[in-house]
Symmetry: C2
Subunit: 656 residues, 2 copies
Amino acid sequence: MVENMSSSATRRIVIENVRPEIDGGRFPIKRVKGECVTVSADVFADGHAEIFVLLLFKRQEDREWQKVRMKSLGNDLWESKFRVEENVNYCYTVQGFIHDFDTWRKGLQKKVKSRQDVDVDLMIGVQILEAALPRVMPQHKSELKKWIALLRNSRKKEDALEAAFDSDLLYMLETYLDPRRSTVYEKELIVLVEDPRASFSSWYEFFPRSWGKKPGQHGTFKDCQQILPAIKDMGFNVIYLPPIHPIGQTKRKGKNNAVVCRKGDPGSPWAIGSKEGGHKSIHPQLGDFADFQDFVACANKLGLEVAIDLAFQCSPDHPYVKAHPKWFKWRPDGVVQYAENPPKKYEDILPLNFETDDRQNLWQELKSIVFFWIEKGVSIFRVDNPHTKPFVFWDWLIAEVKKAHPQTIFLAEAFTRPKVMYRLAKGGFTQSYTYFTWRHTKSELMEYLTELTQTEVGEFFRPNFWPNTPDILVPHLQEGGRPAFIMRVVLASMLSANFGIYGPVFELCLSKSVSDKEEYIDSEKYEIKAWDWDRPGNIKSVITTLNMIRRENPSLQQTRKIRFLDINNDQLLCFYKATEDYSNIILVAVNLNPFCTESGWLRVPIDELGLDYERPYIAHDLLNEEKYVWQGDGAYIELDPQRSMAHVIRLDHQST
Amino acid sequence: MVENMSSSATRRIVIENVRPEIDGGRFPIKRVKGECVTVSADVFADGHAEIFVLLLFKRQEDREWQKVRMKSLGNDLWESKFRVEENVNYCYTVQGFIHDFDTWRKGLQKKVKSRQDVDVDLMIGVQILEAALPRVMPQHKSELKKWIALLRNSRKKEDALEAAFDSDLLYMLETYLDPRRSTVYEKELIVLVEDPRASFSSWYEFFPRSWGKKPGQHGTFKDCQQILPAIKDMGFNVIYLPPIHPIGQTKRKGKNNAVVCRKGDPGSPWAIGSKEGGHKSIHPQLGDFADFQDFVACANKLGLEVAIDLAFQCSPDHPYVKAHPKWFKWRPDGVVQYAENPPKKYEDILPLNFETDDRQNLWQELKSIVFFWIEKGVSIFRVDNPHTKPFVFWDWLIAEVKKAHPQTIFLAEAFTRPKVMYRLAKGGFTQSYTYFTWRHTKSELMEYLTELTQTEVGEFFRPNFWPNTPDILVPHLQEGGRPAFIMRVVLASMLSANFGIYGPVFELCLSKSVSDKEEYIDSEKYEIKAWDWDRPGNIKSVITTLNMIRRENPSLQQTRKIRFLDINNDQLLCFYKATEDYSNIILVAVNLNPFCTESGWLRVPIDELGLDYERPYIAHDLLNEEKYVWQGDGAYIELDPQRSMAHVIRLDHQST
């Protein structure tokens, strides 16, 4: 009560419903350098006083807030935005002031209009200005005193009124509102600002061991240097390698996931660890550390970054098993507990026991693995099954790594329930695999993209769209042939600023699956393959064009500013993406039916895009370099799978 | 990090999105004694472990939690409920456990099904039970040991398996899950439990001074005792009196709000205070304290409670003005600042300055007014314009009063912006005036009721529906005549468990307004009226029936369990209300058009109501005592304003 009646009795402003705010401020929102944060809040006071609302923001390390005025959107909702300029954490909050001067000014205006006597009101204005005087900085005091003199001058009432309504006076007062009669929102909310690579990337996943000099021969890092220029030419900028560590022998899986392997079978790279070492070693057949670092250097020279796989699990031969038996669960029969999802057993893989009494050492060791590879030039980690390890482990690990290396990127490979995926992203994962892989129909795609981009999810979850992975060959790719592969890579690369493919099976449109399963037959996970990369029918040129379009059009380098468009055909998906200022607009139309020609009338949102109903504009298809002249809000779209699965159209404002 | 790696490393469970939770737990939810609180939360763990989730609740003063198991609704959402049995604050939270035993049990089931060897698994089960042993209460230890022996008995594997799958064992283990491997939600959320009167009441507002012995003679409390039986007979249980304090002379308003009053004009009761006293005094023409207390006693004897008006403002003649000049704002010309909303002036009313330096004394004095009237037998306060006083003042005042007198009810008369109205309710107001008064069309009513009852608003905001007030005579009452008055009182009393009317103008269907305004002409606020209460055309009997129906049907004694029904006519509004167990179901159909007969086909939600498609059921109209035999999900509704504006139907499950 004492508290109420002294300090906070003058806190008449209420600030509620500040957005964005993730789980009551428990988790930060995410941005990359240069992006904007739009903040809104419900702000109001009792009674009829005018209020003045500021958005406060700063780099977390700074002491002083920067301030920007919030705009009333009606119904007590206020909004403004700020830009994050550096790769450091920012914070933001909201402050609302009672604005006596403006309340008085607006009342005065009404009284003048209804010809009431305002002598006393002018004196009240003088009182308000005099109360502000002690708060005014020395260099402004004399100016304020001049205003006071003008208002006080009752002989020249016209001058006094002119002064009262002068906007310079209003602006001056707004710089010096009484902080004792303001409320600051109780939380300082955090923005995790990351490197722009976090929000725009094109990934290419491949198995180095399949690129030996001769078919069947184990590929090396040296061999792989040869294919980097071609990957670069396709326009990718991240190459992601499945685990490059020694592979266990015990319970090694054979071809097609056979429980018993045959002599010469190379095993799954995810069964990490043998007598040759564990997570800090390189599989000898790939080369040594010098070879790896040469490979990284070669990639970097081409503008490619190398991402490796962080799979925190062990083969039964991993050195940890003997050195740190406490890091595993042991069964009563003296066998280490292997991974299982009853009735399935994965005996070549032992999970780590994150709850072990020795977790202090286990967690530190796992952290040291990340630091080890960062020193070897890796700054991007694709994390295998993070949802089978405690969330608090990742919260801690990622925070520790980012403290020392803020540019590090972690991609969560968690194909699991939505809330689990979102919790991992809140805890610090930079990017996340998504359900895009299984979202195929128009309504599925629209609904999912709306959830990812138009809700709070977009504040903390950065999607990375993959049409395929070594584990997943979905039915629509199995059945749809080359047009389906084109359709899916157009969708992935145009819908999401982060996307990736597992090649070369993807660009070769290979689609043979284990029967009745969403899995590749003769999977590269269990054998060394040899690829005819230039096989007829490959879609390398389409991918090359898509990546070029992405590089040249900033509207495609972000995921959230997207709008789906009306078109009267359920097999045609249309949307546009735009930069904040609409200086770059890309309109995409995709045929979701790989078997038939589909056509329809698209409604172009002329007004929203700043186009003119009366003037023709150029629709420039960047996929085939054709140009159409459109006018008005209707456009006819026809896509024949044998010729083209999509339009990727840049809308040029200039008239013909 | 240390924190992470020691205590919370084993906290694998995440608890998010606990509902209800108002503003992150800053404000309590509200219930009355006997009501249920349904709690839901997103609860999940990493990996594939089964989890076990408890809803914890207790009276706030208790140390021990009561526990009830939450049910999985899929997609990681869990739900359960508890009942608040006493008129004290309760709190609730959620606890999730890793459920090793159930995880093991389910895995074992699958392995048995696929005929795998389970010897080792049974030993793992023994380990899990042995780990639980130290947590088990002494009286259960021997039982658990028996289970362990059964599981261990590998010679009789069938017995061991039977034991493993015995649900008694599962239930026992669930009582003793490991709290170290559980997570308790970080907040304890509060339920403000109030007296049932808070959620079900029928208010009748009248001006005592209009009930003098002869027309024009100032009525007294003694006179008013005479009309109490008739109010009681209409079925009301709260009588609300506009301010009963001495009325100021200075700037007193005349008839129809005239700026200058004529001799004998009684003034507005809201201009409180004269030389005869202020908020702790009674207007001498009404009687003295003995008369007031007699009146209250007489009302109470009839089962009526007396609500008075809490209007924290003063006439210029209020004793506070001289005794406490610091409690007001003073203009530079030495005049106390009167209320104004430029260009309008309300010179007969002075607002109090809640921000005065002397606020300690002001606030205490205002609090003492409430305690003063509580001592005189008043426990219900209708608060005038609370939104023009600081929210923190009400937060404090209501908490202070409720501490000493938990049954006190405060009704907020805040006709202002929605967020302001909601903030007052969050801060402690028991009930609130609403926009119902202006919601007239089918879509307006459905939208508003949905907001009030089906969203978070329903957790803290208790609506009180008024078709009219001394300040408000809406156009649809001005125009629609008697049928409109019936329609509006049916809506108010059936849609909301709390409702009220300002009489007798309402039941007399008086509808003369100031031209082009929503105000009564010759308003009772400024003059003494004389009423012919039995005037032909009055709707007292309809109101009497409605209040009787409300008393007899518990589904109408709550506001939130309501569902609107499909009917193919935009002038017919249909809904039903039900008790939790559907033992009482009232279906209401209202004609919103007071001028014409309207008809349509209603879709009765047979399944939801537990009715049988094949068997006829009785639709018993409680308004006119007619009974219809309905069958199936279609019912024809026809309402002729000259005969009946509404059906209020009790659905009886028994077949004919």
